[in-house]
């Protein structure tokens, strides 16, 4: 047998063994397969930050034709439940106190005809701010409807209404699931790759089998590659299942190239795998490896990637820290590709950064993986 062929057949045998470990540990395997979908369902249905079934009342004099068209505008929106009209702002106060409404739009007498946009605001949106987040969201929705209404009216009247607010670009329906799916993919890749690789390598150490692998002719790179490939495969299965569910269950729009997305996912997965191998090389027990993987990869991927907290609003030192978090660059790529349809011409910089990280981590991981016992 030629040495090169032998190296590959050995590697194949190693991967077969790893797959067996994976499949035999029934509980973990089922969790790894189902966890991503469960998370997606959770984000998709339960943990949305968008608000529906907002009760709204419009306060205006009954004769105002503008009120009639505004009422129709709100009635057409599927986010709002239109309550019977009320005569004035004083009535609105009573509705809020008795918690019968979430939003009231007060229409002043001079909103009609040519005065729109020139006179002082004569349209007032009042929301129940006992929950500030929800309140802001409801106000935004209401504004969006009002803007549409203004636009329609200015078309009719031949005048251009001034749009005072930035449009909600790329997520015009403001659905949070659209924003979560890219982040979820980043989290799953981190979990399945870093954590599982670190765990599985340190398990060999704890069980003493690493001693046998080391005295064999297996080179460190063969042990690492053999460990990593099965988890890479599992991670990609997870990515595809999340993407399919997102596209066909939650109808998340997909603007860019699937190939670019998969390519970026593979790159990010490799970075995380190298990190997992490094963690395993630096720790001596499964517990330490788990904690290191959680603290070193999963937490930064969640907190410092821009997934939950916008990077732009972090203090400057923390913004610097985010640049060494691989997930930050991956989230940037994946949001761009999925929601904006960005191509390689734009995300090449992020891809390059991830590639450099991969090389650095791989070199560190292989150098720290000893050919002897520690």
């Amino acid at each position: 047998m030629s040495p090169r062929f032998e190296a590959w057949s050995t590697l194949l045998a190693f991967m077969r063994k790893e797959l067996r470990h994976l499949v035999r540990d029934r509980q973990t395997f089922v969790i790894l397969l189902c966890l991503p979908l469960a998370q997606l369902l959770l984000f998709g249905y339960a943990v949305r930050t968008d608000v529906n079934e907002i009760r709204i009342a419009i306060a205006a004099s009954a004769a105002d034709p503008a009120a009639t068209s505004l009422r129709a505008q709100f009635a057409n929106s599927d986010r709002f439940i239109l309550l019977p009209s009320i005569p004035n702002a004083a009535a609105a106060e009573r509705l809020f106190r008795s918690q019968q409404t979430d939003v009231v739009v007060v229409l002043g007498p001079r909103t009609d005809s040519r005065t729109v946009g020139v006179t002082p605001p004569s349209l007032l949106i009042i929301t129940d701010a006992s929950d500030p987040n929800t309140s802001t969201t409801m106000a935004n929705y209401a504004q969006a409807v009002v803007r549409d209404w203004q636009a329609l009216r200015s078309d009719v009247s031949g005048r251009v209404a001034i749009d005072v607010r930035a449009r909600m670009r790329y997520n015009p329906t403001l659905r949070s699931v659209n924003l979560f799916v890219p982040g979820l993919i980043a989290l799953i890749l981190t979990l399945v790759t870093s954590l599982m690789t670190a765990l599985s390598l340190s398990r060999e150490k704890e069980r003493g089998t690493m001693e046998l692998l080391l005295v064999s002719p297996l080179r460190p790179w063969q042990i690492i590659v053999g460990k990593v490939i099965p988890y890479l495969g599992l991670a990609l299965v997870n990515v595809v299942s999340v993407l399919l569910a997102a596209r066909f269950v939650f109808l998340v729009p997909f603007a860019g190239s699937y190939w670019l997305l998969m390519g970026a996912s593979v790159l990010f997965a490799l970075v995380s795998l190298a990190l997992g191998v490094l963690i395993a090389a630096l720790t001596s027990s499964q517990l330490a490896a788990t904690l290191a993987a959680l603290g070193g990869t999963l937490l930064p991927s969640t907190m410092l990637s821009g997934l939950i907290f916008p990077i732009a609003s972090m203090p400057e030192p923390l913004q610097w820290v985010t640049t060494i978090v691989p997930a930050r660059w991956f989230v940037e790529i994946i949001r761009g590709v999925m929601l904006q349809g960005t191509g390689v011409d734009v995300v090449w910089r992020d891809l390059l950064i991830l590639s450099v990280m991969l090389v650095v981590l791989l070199v560190a991981a292989i150098r720290r993986t000893s050919v002897r016992l520690a």
């Binding site: 050995t10 194949l12 077969r16 003493g208 089998t209 001693e211 046998l212 005295v215 064999s216």
Partner: protein, 320 residues
């Protein structure tokens, strides 16, 4: 004399403040079954790990199959079979899958090596599809031996293969080692069970990082420096304390249903006593204390007697 297969000189190894090995030296010839006998903490596992290239010695010279385990580690790793000190196979893989994996790691297959492992593999083949984790202790060790042999190593290193295994399985395992020895395979094996030393061609007695003695196990007992007697009585508990109070007695250890007693030969008055006279002296002492049924006769010392004797001199030597 043929070149030794294993030669180590002056090997020392420390972990922090703990001296695991202290100036170890011995050599093993081709085809020998060489035993390292000693309790936990003797340094046996550390020595094995140095020999199979898993650890580097702090000092000393190590040659295994003519290779240096530090400089020639990849050449060496192809040629040695190693069974670590605790069960280190994949419990979630079946017997056959474990064996196939270790064959593949060395670029071979179970089919290709079947004839060479058959004598051992046939004893576990009926469990081929059972998960290794569900095997009994004795079967696990046989599987581990198979895995260590599957690439036809030039030399075998077995670290405590019979620890925690019942007496029957231990015998069967040593029978297998005898078969391998007859086929000419050089083997170094360690054990905490003194009685197993008799199955080796030569043994090194080890204790806290040092070698106490190296010899043919049948000759080791003759090194015992003083007269030794076996004492038999029904009251095996009281006899220990009684013997310790008798003049001339230097050590008292229970051995199964008898007690081994060593004595000085020369009395305080300078009389040099014969074995018969010493036995008589012990018996008289016991009878006087009420153990009328005591039987005392001179016996030949075994490895365990010598081991305990050397342990004693080692520890007093260290203290002085």
């Amino acid at each position: 004399m043929p070149d030794p297969v294993v030669q180590i000189e002056n090997v020392s190894k420390a972990f922090g403040a703990t001296r695991a090995l202290d100036q170890i030296a011995f050599s093993v010839s081709a085809g020998e079954l060489f035993g390292l006998v000693g309790p936990d903490g003797a340094g046996k596992s550390t020595l094995f790990r140095i020999l199979v290239s898993l650890l580097e010695a702090d000092r000393g010279v190590v040659r295994v199959l003519g290779l240096d385990p530090v400089g020639d580690l990849w050449a060496l790793r192809r040629q040695v079979g190693y069974m670590p000190g605790r069960f280190a196979l994949y419990g979630d893989l079946t017997v056959r899958e474990n064996l196939e994996f270790f064959a593949a790691v060395f670029g071979t297959s179970v089919e290709a090596e079947y004839t060479s492992i058959a004598p051992i593999y046939q004893q576990i083949e009926r469990f081929a599809d059972r998960r290794a984790g569900a095997l009994s202790g004795g079967m696990k060790q046989k599987l581990a031996l198979c895995c260590a042999l599957v690439h036809r190593p030039a030399m075998l290193f077995l670290d405590e293969p019979t620890t925690g295994v019942d007496a029957v399985s231990r015998r069967e395992f040593w029978d297998l080692l005898g078969t391998l020895r007859d086929s000419g395979l050089t083997t170094i094996v360690s054990t905490p069970y003194m009685d197993e030393a008799m199955r080796c061609d030569r043994v090194a007695l080890m204790q806290t990082g040092r070698i106490l003695a190296i010899d043919d196990p049948t000759r080791l007992g003759a090194r015992f420096p003083r007269p030794l007697f076996g004492v038999h009585t029904r009251d095996r508990r009281r006899v220990l304390d009684l013997l310790r109070t008798l003049p001339l007695v230097t050590s008292v250890f229970p051995f199964g249903d008898i007690v081994h007693v060593s004595t000085a030969r020369v009395t305080a008055h300078g009389d040099d006593l014969s074995d018969a006279a010493l036995a008589e002296h012990l018996r008289d002492g016991l009878v006087a204390a009420g153990l009328g049924d005591a039987e005392v006769r001179p016996i030949d010392a075994g490895i365990e007697d010598l081991f305990m004797e050397l342990m004693g001199t080692e520890s007093t030597g260290a203290a002085s």
